[in-house]
């Protein structure tokens, strides 16, 4: 009986892991609410299921990310994503270098909230030392990021907001901030 239960538990954990992985880059959201019935079926809490999944993903170089975009939404609506662990010592990205850099700047400026296009352009111009070039790069990167559903742009108000997907894929904000400060200070020395 116990062996049968263990088999079921294993099967359900593997199913949830596959569900989260296969929806990592798609429209369909996997929230805590969606996986809680699976946790109930094997008699564990959602938190325990998440911990177990995190451990398993960690072992194979992946990272389970729980993204709650704002304090207004309930904990159940927090979204789950699987990404390749950004701490791994490999240089790889799903986006091209320039777009990744722009995404990092947006994250540093906006965090989980919003920022303005003007603000990003100002930072980029500061880094590049050329406003025209910065405008060119920014408009191209914004189009790509929007297409990949990593940002939302309110063109009327000029606001940019990162989506849950972008928040899941990016490393820690402090780390990116340090990289950007390093680059800007390096520019100003020159």
């Amino acid at each position: 009986m116990s062996a049968k239960n263990d088999d079921l538990k294993e099967e359900i954990i593997r199913t949830v892991a596959a569900m989260i992985t296969m929806h990592a880059w798609r429209e369909h959201k996997i929230t805590l609410k969606k996986i809680s019935p699976y946790a109930k079926r094997i008699g564990i809490s959602t938190k325990e299921l998440i911990e177990e999944l995190s451990k398993r993903f960690e072992r194979v170089g992946l990272k389970l990310r729980l993204v709650k975009r704002s304090s207004k939404i309930s904990d159940d609506e927090a979204e789950l994503f699987v990404v390749v662990d950004p701490r791994l010592k490999i240089s790889a990205g799903s986006l091209d270098r320039i777009t990744s850099a722009v995404l990092a700047i947006i994250f540093v400026r906006a965090g989980t909230g919003t920022t303005t296009v003007e603000n990003i352009l100002k930072t980029l111009s500061q880094v590049l030392g050329n406003k025209q070039k910065a405008t060119e790069i920014l408009s191209r990167a914004l189009r790509k990021l929007e297409k990949m559903k990593l940002i939302k742009v309110d063109r009327e108000k000029g606001f940019i907001e990162l989506t849950s997907k972008a928040l899941a894929i990016l490393p820690e904000k402090e780390e990116l901030e340090a990289m950007l400060v390093e680059l800007i200070s390096d520019q100003s020395i020159r």
Partner: protein
């Protein structure tokens, strides 16, 4: 002479029979397809051919038998090719309509490949650094453009000087140079003059003279 011509006509008829046989045995996959109509056209122009195939009835019968088979085989081949062209023309339209019907009715779902997103720290660091490279590349380009402009400016200035020299030569000024040209560059006087003239004066003079 007449015998030679007869022999040539017979050889030509046999050659045609050979081509027809090859066409029929290879079921139309015969490589030199254009050869048969060309030979047929040439033969039809010659009066001697009809005489020869009547004289040599065995050869004539063989030729007409092969021709009959060739014509029916070739016509059906053309017919088949036309059908293929029509099918090729209609097929993409039919296929796209079928695909559109299937997907619009929701009978089939398109499943994109599953990818796990990745953006490592190392990659982001190098990405942010790549912004610096853009700046450096831009600076290098600007320097190069400036250099090109200064080269162009000096070339234009040089051209201006040549024009001035040309005007001088036309006005009969620059006697030394006039004497140098008049005496020929290999003369002793020319060598003496080259010694006393500055290099710049000499180059400008020669170039102005060549342009005149």
């Amino acid at each position: 002479m007449a015998e030679e011509r007869d022999e040539a006509t017979l050889r030509y008829i046999r050659e045609l029979i050979g081509y027809l046989e090859r066409y029929l045995s290879s079921k139309g996959l015969f490589a030199d397809l254009e050869k048969i109509p060309v030979i047929l056209e040439n033969l039809s122009r010659s009066d001697e051919v009809s005489e020869k195939i009547v004289d040599n009835s065995l050869l004539g019968t063989k030729l007409f038998q092969k021709l009959r088979k060739y014509l029916s085989s070739h016509l059906s081949r053309i017919d088949k090719k036309l059908d293929e062209i029509m099918l090729q023309f209609a097929l993409p339209l039919v296929l796209s309509k079928m695909a559109f019907d299937i997907f619009s009715l929701g009978k089939m779902k398109v499943i994109p490949p599953i990818k796990v997103p990745i953006l490592t720290r190392q990659y982001l660091r190098s990405s942010i650094r790549s912004l610096k490279k853009i700046v450096e590349r831009d600076k290098a380009r600007r320097i190069l453009e400036k250099k090109r402009y200064s080269e162009l400016a000096s070339l234009m200035r040089f051209k201006e000087l040549i024009e001035i020299k040309k005007e001088e030569l036309k006005a009969g000024l620059g006697r030394k140079f006039q004497r140098l040209i008049a005496g020929g560059l290999t003369s002793l006087e020319a060598l003496e003059l080259i010694k006393i003239m500055s290099r710049r004066e000499l180059i400008l003079g020669v170039l102005a003279f060549l342009e005149m």
